[in-house]
Amino acid sequence: MSDNTVQATRFLKGGEFLIRDVSSDEVFIPEDFNEEQRMMAEATTEFIEKEVIPERERFEKKDYDFTLSLMKKAGELGLLGISVAEEYGGLGMDFNTSMLVCDRISGVSGSLSTAYGAHTGIGTLPISLYGTEEQKKKYLPKLATGEWMGAYCLTEPGAGSDANSGKSKAELTADGKHYKINGQKIWISNAGFANLFIVFARIEDDKYLTGFIVERTFDGISFGEEENKLGIRASSTRQVFFNDCLVPVENLLGERNGGFKIAMNALNYGRIKLAVATLDAARRVLTHAVQYGNERKQFGQSITEFGAIQQKLADMATYTWVAESATYRAGQDIENHIARLKEEGASLSESKLKGVEEYAIECAIMKVFASEVGSYVSDEGVQIYGGMGYSADAPMESAYRDVRIARIYEGTNEINRMHSVGMLLKKALKGELDLMSPAMKIGGELMEIPSFDTPDYSELFSEEKEILGKLKKSILMVAGKAVEKYAMQIEEEQELLMAAANMIIEVYAAESALLRAEKLSKQRGEEKTQTEIDMTRLFLYRAVENVGRAGREAIYSFAEGDEQRMLLMGLKRFTKLQNPINVTETRRRIAKRVVEANRYPFTI
């Protein structure tokens, strides 16, 4: 192997987790955060506890001013400028620190979480990444301190998931000094109070949209009424109308025709940030649920003493912990890649762009996984509260409504599922990721007689790693055959893409959990990592079941006859558990830890 190859393969590229294993020493786990990062996280939590929680009911009364006042305070604390470069008034912190702060600020209300995400992510980021020096100097200091609020106008009534089909037009005025924007944007977060809008419109009959920086005070911009929403009720959401809105030519963002790229890249960021934004909400819901459950007596005992409740607590804790593991793992992979690109001489903006783009698959996967974990956890939170969970007086009700949007915005989970598989296939086609040779190998492996040796599983997770390897093979086998059959027409087989995405998501999540537990157990010993080991095994059990089910569904649907039988036989071999865990006992042990701690017990 030449030196070059060693260099190139040293880090795990985006999507490469499917074909290459990494050691736990190479992954970041939340326990790796340093003292300064922890202090920032704790300061953010302190802000939430002191300024937000005592008045949290104001969110449900659609008190947009409350949200705005919190954003201003967040600005004073420096929470809005975490990832803005220091020369533009920000803190210039690394990617995972910005993730950690986003995690903590988003735990109590989807309203604040959305305002924060819209401002720092899609509102500020496009200028950081694509702005000219003048644009950065003019706008970033205001956005980083919270003097100005930002918003992002992409969606139109007829252009949601199909964002590039937007009808908004931008026309150069006769004097060449302005673009005149006409169009209608819908579901614009922060619209009620934003001072600045990143607006996407098409110049003439361009193939793609172009981005513009539009100030609220420009002529020709007006707003619809606040939308009535299921949740995130104090997140200001309005339509924004552009009626001959004159935007100076110097406010064109990036390049003409480059808006769709800006929109998509901002979404890569937005997706992983959304994933992390669901975590603290899940932790808090679990904490509320176990505290309520410990107090709530029925049939003469706390309801947390019942297996039916323990089962829920164990799953809620496990999924949250797994989501945490995978999100921060991906976050650090992004940060490492940004650093690598910077070292190679790329500009900061370029490095940030390409760094996230490299892991766009993981961003999409995590958006889907974490938002669904959040939904599951809040749903079970309501259930543990019973009748009280349905009451708006208990914290479960708003948590349940607020988290629902997470499966919709930043690209619906359906779009993200298809997108993640689509990107993988594209990477394979471009030769960036060799999925085909390992897929071909599997075909050969299936023809061989399986080994009847008794393997040595004495080392921690040796069996689990073998299982993970087999799950990866299941994906390559099913997806490989599907691609063989449909070639590029596979884009039309959305159900198949969904199944493939589900398999991929389970594997990435399970692997991240395993690597975290392994790294922890190397640091503290197995004895002190027992719950984490249990959660890894419980999740892996789920992953095996889900990969098997999704795989079978796909095989039943696209293969027939001998080929179907061969694939099913392969899938059976790859999803067979030699030594299944005692699922009930494992859940009971995890639940015991949660019940005794009386909170989500894995503080980072």
């Binding site: 922890r38 300061a43 002191k50 420096g78 803190l91 702060v101």
Partner: protein
């Protein structure tokens, strides 16, 4: 104005308290540590003094390296520099001796400690420190105004307040009232980043002795089950208080 604020590194109030080594030692495992709340009121007041009248705020802790994050948080909130005296804080007299040595080396005008720390609640360090320094001392201090080298103070007394005056240098045992809870500062991100570059000096302990030693600790008996009696059923309540609780 040179102000020294003594900072204790104490378990968060929500921590589960356990003991190890035959109940002789506090089990720090999994415990989150914070700035002692009484000290935080004093720290905030000290920062106000600095902002209003100029001067410096130094924070000090007697403890091992594990307490440094707590000192750095104080730096992030706004203190200028920190001193850690590298020693186990064995007892109040030992700690007071260590602080006194530092105070004697530096010309502080004011030393603010908390009236007590919320872990062992000894409440002795500031008093002993004042005695070792032969400085005036006001405990339970809930108000402090400075004018030149004169201090007007308010002390909490049973059922009321006592107004005092004293001259600097001075030691106070502070509490809520020096500032209110709403005035406590959340460290801002820039403050946290600058804490990295502010001096944190580690000093060797001076010779000192401790006058007390801990035998062991005992936790209060766990709360027993609560019996709810219907508000209308006074007779049963009386009956239970008499026959079961045996208090009437």
């Amino acid at each position: 104005m040179k102000v020294l604020v003594c900072i204790s590194h104490v378990p968060d109030t929500t921590s589960k308290i356990n003991f190890t080594s035959d109940n002789k030692e506090f089990d720090k495992n999994g415990v989150q540590f914070v700035i002692n709340p009484y000290d935080e009121f004093g720290l905030t007041r000290a920062i106000w003094i600095k902002e209003k009248q100029g001067g410096t705020v130094t924070v000090l802790n007697v403890g091992k390296a594990e307490t440094e994050p707590t000192l750095r948080k104080a730096l992030a909130i706004g203190a200028d520099d920190a001193i850690r005296i590298d020693a186990e804080p064995t007892d109040a007299f030992y700690v007071a001796q260590q602080i006194a040595a530092v105070v004697k080396e530096n010309n502080y005008d004011l030393v603010i400690a908390g009236r007590e720390s919320i872990d062992y609640n000894g409440g002795q360090v500031p008093g002993m420190l004042a005695a070792l320094l032969k400085w005036p001392f006001v405990n339970g201090c809930m108000g402090l105004e400075l004018d030149g080298n004169k201090a007007s103070l308010i002390r909490e007394i049973d059922g009321g307040k006592e107004k005092l005056s004293a001259s600097l240098p001075l030691v106070i045992g502070g509490q809520k009232g020096l500032v209110e809870e709403k005035d406590l500062r959340i460290p801002n991100m820039r403050g946290i980043m600058s804490a990295r570059t502010k001096p944190l000096n580690v000093k060797d302990a001076t010779n000192g002795d401790h006058r007390t030693s801990v035998g062991n600790y005992e936790k209060p008996a766990p709360k027993s089950a609560v019996k709810m009696i219907d508000a209308d059923n006074i007779e049963e309540l009386v009956n239970l208080l008499h026959s079961e609780a045996k208090v009437i």
